[in-house]
Symmetry: C4
């Protein structure tokens, strides 16, 4: 096989594995999605004692098969990308590695539950699938809306954090003489303040004194009022984002595997490689 | 009765049963609404042990009467529609069948609670009533707003599902050594993550370790933040929808029973039949 | 006192009691607000056993004083309004009557807790205070926004009601073999569906089977998604309302006591009486 | 040191401590932020019995060091500001004092938990940090949006308060014959109404009668509907605010320490002092 033929082969594999706008590329993405979901299902079933006791062997064998398939895919990805190190240390490259590594580490170390849980991070690979063209536009409006909101959301969240710390401390002072209320320390009181302000309300910690209940009512009404703030921010920014032109190009760079380029881009925005080569 | 007279009769019945913009059509819709609500009320009362023990016979007799009325209505619907199979296998056609079938099946099989519960699906027939013209505009703005948001909502919900699976797995790793917390398997932990992220917060499963409570706080604040996203999407699309002209035509196709055509439509958008025939 | 002088007196009393844009009118409104809040505070304190046992006599005497003041005010209102019956049977007229009647009825009938609780409806009289000019604009934007949203909100709420009944019935079928879950009848299951869909989540009823928890998760995610709908509606309509000119006139009709007229109105929009007489 | 040199020194200290747009000013702000967060962390750890028992001495010593640093900073602030009394009685001046005073009062009075909790108010000093320029724009959009919404939010909250008092009283009448429901007095019932309307839902108080559960369902659906109102208000106002030009100037007045001036301002908007002196 000459270097030219090999290059063509690499190009073909790249088109199938990395691109989403060819028939084989779509098929590959959908197959991969099914395999990932199956493997996540396996991790879940292993965690249910009744099922694990009964089907332990089946689960182990299926896990073997899936991990070997993922390993093959990982090797092919490294093989067909031009700039290999850039791919390996990219976000998706690391996730791809993390989703097979715990399995092989299990041979050398005690197979612990922590190693097993890391496998669920495989699920993050599903994000690739959103490159399927029909979702790109929706994703981009969301992404740009959220990116533009970031500054305001950070200010808002810092403000919320300050509020819950101050409220938690006040409630601790008011309630911690009544151990049945559950306000045993300031961190627990802050936990309560977050549970209340976000309107989750477990009820594992709740005030028992009249003053505490009055303050809690204030916190709830504040929480009810300020939930409007992030909503207002995101609505505003998303509105702006949907009015502007949003790139719909899903072509990937052959050099670093980066996607999401503006329409009409000739060079990759991340590594400067020519996009159509 | 000649075929012409029969056609006229069919036309009349069709106008009363399917259309909503004639006086008789409205009357029929309101009567039907009352019968459906009564029948749903009966199913509810049957499920309350104290009431069922006392009024069992009355409930049974009323159920008989209502089912016979619904059966008559179903036969008339089939009689007056031109393309019968299309109606029978349409969404509403199946719902109409499902709302009477369990009763008759009860003669042949053991009258089980599952059969009885299916009867509540009758309620879905109420959706027809929203064809009453005064609600059409409001409904259409809602519908179009939601339809346009669909892509973005799907992306958002997939993202939420990914988050809850990852969070659930992490919390399982952190908390499952403390059985009193209730994190006994990954599916249960995912259930907890959904309960928390959506700010429902039952409190049947809740973290007991410091690290777990810290992670739970993060989840709540994330949930508080991202509730803004669907709101932003829907507001944006509904805003657009209300600015555009929205069809106000509630005429139904005589061939397939489909409604919701654009103003000035001459042919049914679903089956191509002429609308005014 | 001649009829002319009496008319002038009536006019003066009317300006103080009904109008909010004169100094005395404002003073009267603020005094009334304080009296109403005090009286509501009394009703609350009576309901707390520890306080009622200790200060029973004081509470009774204060209640006497306040009721006499409210009765005087009621008589003055009837005296100075031109069209008396219209005032008496208006919304506020009935509330004014309801806030003093239970006290007098207590002389003839056993003073029951139901009579006592009706007194809290006095609080509704506070709505009058919102006629204070500084709040009028904000109130009007809210009112018009809500009025315009009404149709869409009704469609939305009907849809929510249908969903909770269907969900409640399904959950009843799934869970009612496990009495510890609390799904003992369809109405209770519908109550649970509302508690969950609105993200309140008391936790007094919660699913225990795997299928039930899976369905509950779906309900929560649906609830999380559709909370966007009313928000979108109200935002949209309020946006429209704030762009249009909104009446800022708080003058009241001397004949029927109706307020909230368009700027430049000459006749009352409710009874046709000239406004400046 | 001549008065001119002293003035220059004061100017330099002022630039470092009060301003945020010089390199040293930024460094100082970041250092201060770290010290404040450390000190808040100390207060929290003191409140956890297990940690306090073990590291009591370390915590005390660290508290000494931090308080001395904050005292030095407070003295420097007073030294370099021109109009000292104005600074001391400004919001931040009082917070600065409150964050060191409890420590010194502890020498004269019994070191009570109340004094200790006041120290957490130090956290409010963090708000200064938001003067870091990158956050100014986001903060200003938020601030102006909220300021413009104030009137409407007040009307809305008064309305919510009225609703919860009326609902609380009705629920008290309905449920207080069933002590296991927890509706023991009207204030507790109002507390329940707030917990429910804001969708927090602890579950410590929840209705047990059929009528009570029906009314509770209504409250939840109302709460679900009216959460749209503040969101609509804030979105609308924030939308307006982001369209207008918002000041991005973070320069502080040397006389009173006030910040947040319009671009191109020459005199302080609060005390009239020339800004660049």
């Amino acid at each position: 096989m000459g270097p030219d033929e090999e290059n063509k082969l690499k190009q073909k594999i790249f088109d199938v594995i990395f691109e989403a706008n060819t028939p084989y590329g779509k098929l590959f993405d959908i197959l991969l999605l099914l395999l990932i979901l199956t493997s996540v299902g396996l991790v879940m079933m292993e965690s249910i004692p009744a099922i694990n006791a009964r089907y332990h062997l089946t689960l182990i064998i299926l896990e073997w098969i899936l991990t070997i398939l993922f390993t093959l895919e990982y090797i092919l990805r490294i093989y067909c990308v031009k700039n290999r190190w850039r791919y390996i240390f990219s976000f998706y490259g690391l996730i791809d590695l993390l989703s097979i590594l715990p399995f092989y580490l299990g041979f050398f170390f005690e197979a612990s539950k922590y190693l097993s849980s890391i496998r669920i991070l495989r699920l993050l690979r599903v994000f690739r699938i959103f490159n399927l063209t029909q979702f790109t536009h929706g994703r981009n409006v969301l992404m740009i809306g959220l990116k533009e909101s970031r500054d305001k959301i950070i200010v808002f969240l810092s403000f919320v954090l300050l509020i819950v710390v101050v409220i938690g401390s006040i409630m601790y002072t008011v309630e911690h003489d009544h151990p049945e209320s559950g306000f045993t320390s300031i961190p627990i009181s802050i936990y309560w303040a977050i549970v209340t302000l976000t309107t989750v309300g477990y009820g594992d910690v709740s005030p028992v004194t009249g003053l505490g209940q009055f303050l809690a009512s204030l916190v709830m009404i504040i929480g009810y009022g300020i939930i409007a703030v992030p909503t207002g921010i995101v609505t505003m920014e998303m509105n702006k984002a949907s009015k502007n032109d949003i790139p719909k190009n899903t072509e990937r760079c052959r050099n670093c595997g980066d996607d999401y380029h503006l329409d009409g881009s000739i060079y990759c925005k991340t590594c400067g490689h020519k996009l159509d080569e």
